[in-house]
Amino acid sequence: MANQMNGSQKISVLNPVGYPPKITPKPMAPRLESLDGKTIYLVDPRFDDSGLFLRQVRDWFTEHMPSVTTRLVEMSSVYTKDDPKTWETIKANGDGAIIGVGH
């Protein structure tokens, strides 16, 4: 009986979860009005045959939107490392980018 009473008694316990960081909002790059005549980079993170997949995306543009120039580029190292050099190249020479296939 004592155990049953204890079991229904309300107790206080501490929360085991850590403290999340505050989220800082980051604006998206402005969207394009259209892709006509634009240069779109296809960025290969070099993971699980992603390059072969992006070649199919490139071929799709060639067949369906020939006015779009595509440039297929590989990330400079493994996908887990940031790649500022590639991002700068895209900013300087491209109008947009598609990255894939990512986890």
Partner: protein
């Protein structure tokens, strides 16, 4: 604009949200991409997003051209925190709450009452509100922060005794998660060295890696629980993506090195500590394991090479040797130091270059580094396909002596050494 495989839907949404990019544009193709032919992948491109049901390329084009409307931004709470207490309730309801909130490893826990947490905190000189570390499940996540008290709460839940707390605190401060989210299903391994082993009665002998010792069991369990809770969760399909999972995660292969019966110097001495220091060392990976009995006179070299060839070429070997096996290696090969043994392993872990570079994990993680000139990978890449190349770097290979000498068994576990930290600093 990003393309992902559809099983990563929750991960993509969570990661873009926590990085403050709720309006990020993405579309999905079926899983897997790996191993598919060009024709099959073209069918993905021509087909529909399996989640939205809309044409993949239509979503891609809209993703590049449709202005953001701000709707997804409303889903985010930018200023977040965690309350110190859980709302008062009955024990039964609290156990249910912890289970439902994924705060446990699905085994029963000890509820972290204030008294129990205070008893844990009494075993360290550090203040409860001291921030002692940050953790995340992988490099794409944001770091969560935690205090001494938060570590103590998780230690209580795991059933650890207060005297274990300095070891558990030290583990937390490594910042290495025992709940890492990799599709490869990693686990952690923990090796304890120095006087603390005897102080808390850890097992380094018979059955050291089995569930027979309270300290081994609960220190390892606490490491797992604190990892998942202090990094902000470990939930399959969202913050945990190990495809098969890994049973080693239940207590993170936690044991003490058998320093007394080892013929070599203890592991922590190899990493800058003194024999009188108490330390804990953390490894991650722990997917592949190979084992055998003894070190045979005639073909021991071939046996070891065969085992190494059978390992995952991306995870370096750590040798876990019963003291009998360690002494046999000295008898057979003259390895009177761990360093000499490691050098022999380095020189004999060989594979034809063509086979090595064709492994998917090598393609994903090593090949890109080789093509951009990183050594020693760039030199390996120049080898002819049938040329034997070294699978690992010597500094990646490790040796720990553990076991009770009931026989000369030994095993190789594929894992990456992360770091060794002081336990004494957390007393």
């Amino acid at each position: 604009m990003a393309l992902h495989t559809h099983v990563f839907e929750k991960v993509v949404k969570t990661v873009t949200r926590i990085h403050g990019m709720p309006e990020a544009r993405y579309a999905f193709v079926p899983q897997p991409v790996m191993g598919k032919t060009a024709q099959q992948l073209r069918a993905y491109v021509d087909g529909k997003d399996p989640l939205s049901g809309r044409p993949v390329m239509q979503e891609v084009i809209e993703g590049l051209t449709r202005p953001a409307n701000g709707d997804r931004g409303k889903e985010i709470t930018f200023d977040r925190s965690t309350p110190r207490w859980v709302e008062k309730d009955s024990e039964e309801n609290l156990h249910r709450l912890f289970l439902d909130n994924n705060w446990t490893d699905k085994l029963p826990i000890i509820l972290p009452t204030e008294k129990r947490v205070e008893e844990m905190l009494a075993r360290t000189s550090h203040k409860p509100d001291e921030v002692v570390g940050h953790m995340r499940s992988n490099q794409f996540r944001v770091l969560w922060e935690f205090t001494v008290e938060k570590v103590a709460v998780n230690a209580v839940m795991a059933g650890a005794r207060p005297e274990y707390f300095p070891v558990i605190l030290a583990l937390a401060t490594t910042g290495v998660s025992a709940r890492g989210s990799t599709t490869s299903s990693m686990a952690a391994m923990v090796v304890v060295n120095g006087p603390i082993r005897d102080e808390v009665k850890m097992n380094s002998g018979t059955g050291a890696m089995a569930p027979f010792n309270h300290a081994n069991a609960t220190i390892g369990r606490a490491y797992g629980l604190l990892s998942q809770n202090l990094q902000g969760g470990s939930l399959p399909g969202d913050s945990y993506m190990g495809s098969q999972g890994n049973n080693y995660m239940y207590n993170s292969v936690t044991f003490a090195e058998n320093e007394e019966r080892s013929p070599w110097e203890p592991f922590h001495l190899q990493h800058g500590f003194k024999a009188t220091d108490s330390t804990v060392s953390v490894f991650t990976g722990c997917r592949s394991t190979a084992f055998t009995l003894g070190v045979r006179e005639k073909y021991w070299r071939e046996h070891v090479r065969n085992m190494l060839r059978g390992m995952d070429a991306h995870s370096a070997p750590t040798f876990l040797l019963d003291p009998i096996a360690a002494r046999q290696f000295i008898d057979r090969g003259g390895f009177d130091t761990k360093e000499k043994f490691i050098q022999w392993i380095y020189e004999n872990a060989l594979m034809p270059a063509g086979e090595y570079w064709d492994y998917q994990l090598i393609q994903n993680y090593i090949y890109p580094r080789a093509t951009f000139g990183e050594e020693p990978y760039a030199s390996k890449l120049k080898a002819a396909p049938d040329e034997m190349i070294r699978m690992f770097k010597p500094e990646e290979i490790h040796v720990v002596v553990v076991g009770g000498e009931t026989n000369g068994y030994w095993r190789i576990i594929g894992c990456n050494y992360q770091k060794t930290v002081s336990v004494d600093d957390w007393r």
